[in-house]
C-alpha cells in the first residue's frame, strides 16, 4: 500500500531503513554513532528505539564492521552498514574488494553476501582533503559490487530499499549536503523496485548530458540557464549502468557530455564516453567530460572552487558543444 509523506533526503533514507527493519527481520543496521546517537547526520534517528538490538553502535573499526557484515550476510542476515564518509571505507577496502565482491563468484553461487553499505561522499565548503573525495570509480572498477547514488528524496527512499533487498553487496553513496535539505513529497510503501535504471531530469533534443550525484543540480541549473535543449540523464544506478538509455538518447541528440564531481582521469565518465563511442552511434561533435581537475581537494573554499566542476563550466561546455 502506497502513501505519500513530506520528507527530507535524510528523512527518506530513515524511512527506507525503518521499512527494511520492519519488513525484513533478517536486516541489521550498524555503524559508528548510528544507534543511540542516531547518526552524526541524524539519518538513523529513532531506529534503535524502534528496532532494538538489531540496530547497534560499533567501535571505530571499519575492517571489523565490513568484515562482520560479510560474515553475517553469508550466514543469512542482511546487514546495512554505515561508513560515515566514503573516505573511511579505504581503511577497510579489503573487505569490500577482496571479500564481499568475491563471495558469490568464487563459491560458484553457493554463497552470497546480501549487504548494503551506506556511505556519503563529496566536498562541502571547508571540508579537508580526507573528507571530500568522490570515490565511485574505485567501486565501479570492481565487478561484484553494485553502486547506487541517489540525489532526490524519492530516489533515496527507493534505492535504499532496492539495495537492501538485493542479494548482492550494494554500496549506496549519499551526500551529506543533501540530508537536511527541503522536504519533498515521497511515495512510501510502494513495491520495492529491482536495482538498476536511470532518471530523466530534463528532456531535449540537442545534447545528452549524463551525470550523477549532487552535481546533478548544477547540471540542471546550467541547462536551465543556457536554454540548451538537453536530455539530462541522472544515473542513479552506476552498477548496473543503464547504457541502453544513454545510447538511445545520443542516437537522437548526436552529442554527449558527461559531468561528475569525481576526478576526470579514470572517472566513470571515461567509461560512459567509451561505451557510446564504441557503439558507433554517430556523433556531431566530440564527446566531452567535465569533472574535477585531477587534484587533491584543498580545504580552502576559494581553491576548492578551482578544482571542482562549477555550473558555469558546465554551461560553457553545453554552449560550446551545441553551437
Amino acid at each position: 500500500m502506497s502513501e505519500t509523506a513530506k520528507l527530507t533526503y535524510g528523512g527518506a533514507i530513515n524511512a527506507a531503513l525503518a521499512r527494511s527493519l520492519d519488513q525484513m527481520p533478517e536486516t541489521l543496521l550498524f555503524g559508528e554513532d548510528v544507534a543511540l546517537p542516531g547518526g552524526v547526520f541524524g539519518v538513523t534517528r529513532g531506529l534503535r528505539k524502534a528496532y532494538g538490538e538489531r540496530v547497534f553502535d560499533t567501535p571505530i573499526s571499519e575492517t571489523a564492521m565490513l568484515g562482520a557484515a560479510v560474515g553475517a550476510a553469508i550466514m543469512g542476515r542482511r546487514p546495512i552498514v554505515e561508513i560515515m564518509w566514503a573516505d573511511f571505507m579505504l581503511v577497510a577496502f579489503d573487505q569490500i574488494v577482496n571479500q564481499a565482491a568475491n563471495v558469490r563468484y568464487v563459491s560458484e553461487g553457493r554463497l552470497s553476501a546480501p549487504m548494503t553499505i551506506r556511505t556519503q561522499q563529496g566536498n562541502a565548503p571547508g571540508a579537508c582533503a580526507q573528507h571530500s573525495q568522490n570515490l565511485e570509480a574505485l567501486l565501479l572498477h570492481v565487478p561484484g559490487i553494485r553502486v547506487a547514488m541517489p540525489v532526490q528524496a524519492q530516489d533515496a527512499y527507493d534505492l535504499t530499499l532496492s539495495a537492501v533487498a538485493c542479494d548482492d553487496p550494494v554500496v549506496v553513496i549519499e551526500n551529506r549536503t543533501l540530508y537536511a535539505g527541503a522536504k519533498a513529497e515521497v511515495q512510501i510503501g510502494g513495491q520495492i523496485a529491482p536495482i538498476g535504471g536511470h532518471r530523466l531530469r530534463r528532456a531535449g533534443d540537442d545534447i545528452t548530458v549524463v551525470t550523477w550525484g549532487a552535481i546533478t543540480s548544477s547540471v540542471e541549473a546550467a541547462v536551465d540557464a543556457t536554454g540548451v535543449s538537453a536530455d539530462v540523464i541522472e544515473a542513479v544506478w552506476l552498477n548496473p549502468f543503464d547504457t541502453e538509455a544513454v545510447l538511445a538518447s545520443v542516437r537522437r541528440t548526436g552529442r554527449l557530455l558527461v559531468v561528475h564531481e569525481a576526478n576526470l582521469t579514470g572517472g566513470f565518465g571515461a567509461e560512459v564516453v567509451a561505451r557510446v563511442t564504441e557503439s558507433g552511434v554517430p556523433l556531431k561533435t566530440p564527446p566531452k567530460r567535465v569533472g574535477a581537475k585531477d587534484s587533491r581537494i584543498p580545504a580552502a573554499v576559494q581553491l576548492a572552487r578551482e578544482v571542482l566542476p562549477q555550473t558555469d563550466e558546465i554551461a560553457a561546455a553545453l554552449k560550446a558543444m551545441t553551437r
Binding site: 546517537p37 567501535p59 571489523a64 573516505d87 579537508c128 587534484s295 580545504a299
Partner: protein, 309 residues
Amino acid sequence: MSQELADLHAMWRIRVLEETILRLRLDGDVVGSVHLENGQEAIAVGACRRLRKQDAVFSTYRGHGWALARGVPPEKILAELLYRRTGVNGGRGGSAHFSAPEYGFYGENSIVGAGAPIAVGAALAAKFDGSGRVALTVFGDGAMNQGGVTEAMNLAAAMDLPVVFVCENNKYSELTPINDMVRNPDLSARAHALGIPAVRIDGNDPAEVAAAVGLAVTTAEHGRGPTFIEAATRRITGHYIGDAQTYRPAGELEADEKNEPLVRLGQKLGEAQAQKAEQRARDEIAAATERALAAPLTDPSTAREHLYV
C-alpha cells in the same frame, strides 16, 4: 617564571586560540568542520615541553593546540584556517589537516588512527638518518579500535622504534562512550600485551604529562623502543562545533568544567597569577588574529600547484 606558571600560560594560549577559532567559525570567517580541544590542553602542553627540536609530532584533527605547543605561531595557524596566503599550508590543509614540519609538527590527520603508523615510519627513518628523532603520535580513545593503531604499536615494539604513543582518553569517540565500545576500559592494557611499557596518567595535569613524556623520550632515545601513555582527560566542548552533546549524562559537563586543567592550575597558582597568564595569552592571540584576518586570501590560481614535484 615558574614551570607551573609557564604551563598555565601555555594552556591559556591554546584555550584562547580555540575560543578565537570558535568565534571565527560562528561568524562565518572559518567554514566547515572544526574540532576544538578545550579541556585537553594539558596534554599538548606537558608533552611538547619535553620534546626536542628534532622530534616529530603527528596529531589528529584536534590538533590546533598541538601545533601551537610545538611552536607554530598562532597567526600562521589562524591564517591557515582562514585560507590565507600566510597560513602554514596556504589553506590547503585547513583546520583538520594542516602541518608545519619546520616546527616539528608533521601534521594533523582526519582519518582516525592513521597518524600512528606514519609516526612509526618517522621513527623508522630515525634509525637510519642519525637525527636522534623521537616520533610522538597522539590519538583518541576511539582510535584504539582502529586496526592500524595496533599494527603500528606492534611494529614499533618489534623493531624497538623511538615512538611515543599518546592516547588522549576523553571518554568519547564522537557521540559514543568509549566504555560501550570496549570490554576492558584500561586501554593501556593493549600496549602491555604487545610488550610496550604503558602508563595511565592524569591528562589534566601538565606536570604529570611532562614527566611521562620525558621518560618516554629518554627510553626511546636510548634505543629501548616505544612507550604508551594513556592520558585521562575530558573535552569540555562538543566533538565538533554544533554538537549538542545530548549523549552526556546530566551533570557531567559541569563536573568536567571544575576539573579542567586551566581551572585546576589557576586555582593552585592564585587568581592574580592566573589572570596575568590569561591576559598575556589574550593579547597575543588577539594581535595574531588581527594580522591573520588582514592577510590576503590564497590566490585561487595556485589551487593545482604542489600536486607533484
